[in-house]
């Protein structure tokens, strides 16, 4: 690619004599510059200002580090012994070798599975919407700069809304349950996913596309035969990363009643049942770890 290299004209530092430079380089500790001191003071001021709103207040009933550690220790103590929720979630009757058997999964497992199911469908929905949207949002495939700019604007707007807010909106719109959670995942991912898809499409080698166009192929044909194959590994890789993060997001969505494991987390927190809460968290950590491992194995196969 032949892009003109544009380097911003930066004023050169004032020239110094070689002796002065040498003396400066030999100093064991560099002398702080006025600029360095000013930056240090500015950073400290910002930190102090931020801490003024973040420090514990009278309402936290903690005075000093010891109190905080004590409070945490007390909470952790209440989480043990860990209690896994083994109440049956669903019951299915199956016939095996002529005998009827009732198979029931513990609630904790069915809730975890529901979380993963939500993440799969939520990610798939985001992928399906992201492909066409990203075409409009990639500089090299967008039909017009105005479309490019406005799609980017909408995506930025969507990205600034957290999943949990989408979940609250959809619970209000379609009622409690997993479906609201799935919609939250779709719209929560769309803003970021379409944008990184667009960036993957912008990274392709335009010469390969030009070569296909030069055979007389149409724009759509060149897209299918030259753009997609080049962008595909990145698109798949990003989709898997989003599936991973959607599993984690899906657990949170239950907090506002949008299905999955989070419903249980919320319930136990409300009841002050920290032993069951810990059991649920353990299952969650195991599930997320397995999915992370699986998806990074899967991603390596596409690069």
């Amino acid at each position: 690619m032949t892009t003109s290299t544009q380097t911003a004209a930066k004023p050169l530092p004032a020239p110094i004599s070689p002796e002065e430079l040498r003396a400066r380089m030999l100093r064991p500790i560099p002398t702080p510059s006025l600029r360095g001191v000013l930056i240090f003071v500015a950073v400290m001021t910002v930190l102090a200002w931020a801490w003024s709103a973040s420090r514990p207040t009278a309402i936290n009933r903690v005075e000093g580090i010891g109190d905080i550690l004590g409070a945490m220790g007390d909470l952790i103590g209440r989480m043990f012994p860990i209690n896994f929720e083994f109440a049956r979630g669903t019951e299915n009757t199956i016939t095996l070798f002529g005998r009827e058997m009732v198979i029931g999964w513990p609630l904790i497992i069915t809730a975890t599975i529901e979380t993963v199911q939500m993440a799969i469908i939520g990610t798939l929905g985001a992928v399906i919407f992201s492909v066409p949207v990203s075409l409009l949002a990639a500089r090299n495939t967008s039909p017009h700069p105005i479309i490019y700019q406005s799609v980017r604007f909408v995506l930025n707007f969507m990205r600034s809304i957290p999943e949990l807010i989408w979940a609250i909106l959809f619970v209000a719109g379609v009622g409690f349950g997993a479906f609201a959670g799935v919609l939250a995942l779709v719209f929560g991912s769309l803003g970021s996913l379409a944008r990184i898809y667009a960036e993957a499409i912008e990274q392709i080698d335009p010469q390969q596309v030009l070569a296909v166009r030069a055979t007389g192929a149409s724009g759509v044909q060149a897209f299918v035969y030259a753009v997609i194959p080049q962008a595909l590994p990145l698109l798949i890789s990003y989709s898997i990363i989003f599936f991973e993060s959607n599993v984690r997001h899906a657990t949170i969505l239950g907090l506002v009643g949008a299905g999955g494991l989070g419903v249980k987390l919320w319930e136990y927190t409300g009841l002050g049942d920290y032993q069951r809460l810990m059991g649920t968290i353990v299952v969650l950590v195991v599930a997320v770890t397995i999915i992370d491992r699986f998806s990074s194995w899967l991603r390596q196969r596409f690069i």
Binding site: D205, Q207, Q208, L210, A211, V212, R213, A214, T215, G216, A217, S218, V220, Q221, V224, Y225, A226, P229, Q230, L232, P233
Partner: protein, 274 residues
Amino acid sequence: MLEINNVRVVYPNGNEAIKSVSLTAKAGELVAIIGRSGAGKSTLLRCINGLQPVTEGTITLDGEIITAMNKKEIQAERAKIGFIWQEYNLVERLPAITNVLMGRLAYNPGLKSLVGYFNRAHREIALKSLERVNLLHRANFRADRLSGGEKQRVSIARAIAQEPKIILADEPVASLDPELSVQVMSDLARVARELGVLTIINIHQVELAKMFCDRMVGIARGVVVYDGAPDGLSEHVLDQIYRWEKFLPKEEHHHEANQALRPDLAHGAMSTAN
């Protein structure tokens, strides 16, 4: 039959890439275009397949005026114009055979091509094209697993799968080592002769061009300075093509040389950069 009449090309930035070029070539001819980088060789090829609009003049291919066509007509015409690129420009992640089948895309329009459907006839043509460049055994290899020479032969196969009226090759061997260059050039020349297709090759290696082409066209500063048999390329003619500063009056020498050359190519007359 290709007819280029008084073509002039001025880029939007004011650079005059081609001053005035006229050229006629018949089916079956193998024409080498030689000249320094920036002489206008690439621009000329890109004009013939409509990638570069001309400022003045006309280009006619088998009676059809390419320079008068609109976008849609040019797209249709490109189906009959094979193009071979210095950097091969295969779609690296797809198998060789799919890259060759892309030469059939223009003849396989509509939805079916988008799902990868090519009928038996198209697939036969693609296989035959690969066979002509002796690469049938690499048909299902992904392009990024092929060597440079193999890639360029796949791109020759892609061009002939178009069943073209003309093949344009822009520095087809500039990215290959000398031995592979000879091999790829001989493949290109053999295939072009077998099929009787007019082939125009931009090339820096004069010796290689003499070995395989019937006709040499030398371009310097956007005009044709030689057009004839390889034997006619005397030292004097080569100087006119590659070292034309010699012939400038002394005081003009410096000024003209700097104006005509692209600034990045101001040193070294025989630069191999494209």
